[in-house]
């Protein structure tokens, strides 16, 4: 299978300031890849290099099998791009902007109109009069309208209300099903979790890890609270595999579990249980683990 995006030793400095450092990334065609990191971590820097808006200080980028710089025009024929804050010509109406971009791409408005209907976008209003959410809708429509092979979406749901976010997630999943490659940058962890197969975590310009979402979730912490019929002792659970932070108050116990909770369930089964509650494992926990200020803990985590 062809690689959609491949970077080797990708480094970018803005003068003396760090952009990204030695990023090695391989995204296969058909992947839905999420790049996760806080603001300023280097997500947008990566994206702007993929699109040849800025040039690497060192390293190489191949997009859809082509050189990001020499073949940038050909590459952009096959890319749909949505920036985090979609800023465009405020004096044009939404319809005029889509017409302009369609003309620049030598395309037709057919799919744009379908998408505009789907996102309930009024094509007759001037962009300058629209709310941020509505502007972001235009951004989404123009990114998807030319049926691109590769979609690069930088913080795509910024400003969208929850219903439209859901609609956007549905659209992404449809495109993924159709075999499109999606590169989504986000600091909204739950979003990446919903739409992505693989996630890269970037911090201070360095790509810390790339993992399957399922694998990350397995490593995520689950918070469990159990109510027993009779009082229990902390020692009944402290030695169970993956269990930490055990707190017992008479016949109630709470703890964190890393990975599978199977061992805990087996230990709990020795007692009569009234109620079990567990918080849904989110990437937040994984994310927080990666971004923990305690460097030793973090290094141990990476070393696993």
């Amino acid at each position: 299978m062809t690689t959609a995006i491949c970077t080797t030793g990708l480094t970018k400095y803005y003068g003396a300031h760090r952009g990204v450092l030695d990023v090695n990334l391989e995204i296969k065609q058909g992947d839905v890849f999420g790049l996760l990191g806080p603001n300023g971590a280097g997500k947008t820097t990566c994206i702007r290099m993929f699109l040849d808006f800025i040039r690497p200080t060192s390293g190489t980028i191949s997009v859809l099998g082509m050189d990001s710089r020499a073949d940038s025009v050909e590459i952009r024929k096959h890319i749909g791009y949505l920036p985090g804050d979609f800023i465009t010509y405020e004096k044009l109406t939404s319809g005029e902007l889509l017409e302009y971009f369609v003309n620049l791409r030598g395309d037709t408005l057919t799919k744009a109109k379908v998408l505009a209907d789907r996102f309930d976008l009024d094509l007759s209003r001037k962009i300058g009069e629209l709310s941020r959410g509505n502007r972001q809708k235009i951004g989404l429509v123009q990114a998807f309208m030319s049926n691109p092979e590769l979609l690069i979406l930088d913080e795509p749901t910024t400003g969208l209300d929850p219903l439209l976010q859901q609609e956007f997630h549905k659209l992404v999943l449809e495109e993924a099903k159709a075999g499109k490659t999606l590169f989504v940058s986000s600091h909204v962890l739950s979003e990446v979790e919903v739409i992505c197969d693989r996630v890269g975590i970037i911090r201070e310009g360095a790509l810390i890890t790339v993992e399957e979402v399922a694998a990350l979730r397995e490593r995520a912490l689950t918070h469990v609270a159990i109510e027993f019929e009779n009082p229990v002792s902390p020692s009944d659970f402290e030695t169970v595999e993956g269990v930490t932070e055990v707190v017992v108050t008479e016949h109630k116990m709470s703890c964190n579990v890393t990975g599978s909770i199977d061992s805990l369930i087996k230990a709990v089964a020795k007692h009569t249980v009234h109620k079990i509650e567990s918080a849904h494992p989110g990437l937040e926990e994984v994310f927080l683990a990666f971004y923990n200020d305690d460097d030793t803990e973090k290094e141990d985590y990476y070393a696993e």
Partner: protein, 265 residues
């Protein structure tokens, strides 16, 4: 008008071009309709001859001032004409690339399959086209005004003066565009081009009277625009080609720099 960047740029500037064109026609009409008053004023030529050299340098050639072409040379092509064309050209040039960049619309535009060279070529094309509209408007004002006022005006001389002025406008506009495309900084682009225009004007007029600075006239774009009074004596080919060479150099620098630099977000 939304088929490509060239037409979109013309569309964006249509109101501004309309107002500048009305201004250019009005300016042409104003000086031509005013000319008979000066021509018929008795003793005006003698009065000009008595003026100090500094004052004469402001007005132009005292001997030809009372001729139609001499009057237009002094009253239009020495200051007001290049001022109108120059201001328009500099604003259009500084906003062409740097304006898009500073208003954060360039990223989204460049996400489409367009090369930077193509973008620059279309922006340059739009700038030169708009300058042509303004120049035609001024030519219409002058020739129309001469007909209305009932005096003969050299069409060839007027056309050549308008063409030379167009070249000056193109140089200033392309300088602004070049600095903007090379740096992404609109203010710097406007400042450099306006500085070149203003210093050029001063070197070619007042400062040329200072013996020490007189040789510096040759670095003034105004020297190459109208030092030989184009409306009276026709275009000096060497001077005109010098303006063309400056414009081509500005384009070459903008292409070279714009292709190589990072775009601002």
């Amino acid at each position: 008008m939304l088929s490509n960047i060239y037409l979109k740029t013309l569309r964006d500037s249509r109101k501004s071009v309309l107002f500048y064109s009305i201004g250019s026609i009005s300016l042409g009409l104003y000086v031509t309709l005013f000319y008979p008053t000066i021509r018929d004023a008795t003793g005006f030529a003698e009065f000009l001859d008595q003026l100090p050299e500094v004052m004469q340098s402001l007005i132009g050639d005292a001997e030809t001032y009372t001729t139609a072409e001499g009057f237009l040379n002094a009253e239009l092509f020495s200051f007001m004409g290049p001022l109108v064309i120059g201001i328009f050209a500099i604003i259009a040039g500084m906003t062409a690339i740097a304006g898009e960049e500073e208003s954060h619309t360039l990223d989204q535009l460049m996400a489409n399959p367009i090369s930077r060279t193509n973008l620059l070529a279309q922006k340059i094309g739009a700038l030169l086209t708009n300058l042509m509209f303004l120049s035609i408007a001024m030519w219409v004002g002058l020739t129309g005004g001469s007909i209305l006022a009932g005096f003969d005006l050299s069409i060839s001389g007027t056309t050549q003066a308008i063409i030379s002025q167009y070249a000056l406008g193109a140089v200033l506009g392309l300088l602004a565009l070049s600095v903007g495309a090379s740096t992404g900084k609109k203010g710097l682009a406007g400042g450099v081009a306006a500085g070149v225009g203003l210093v050029g004007f001063l070197l070619d007029t007042f400062l040329s009277l200072v013996d020490l600075l007189n040789p510096a006239r040759f670095i003034s774009v105004f020297y190459y625009f109208n030092s030989n009074d184009v409306i009276l004596h026709g275009i000096n080919v060497v001077h005109f080609l010098t303006l063309v060479a400056i414009a081509v150099t500005a384009i070459a620098i903008s292409l070279w720099r714009f292709e190589r630099r990072d775009l601002a977000n």
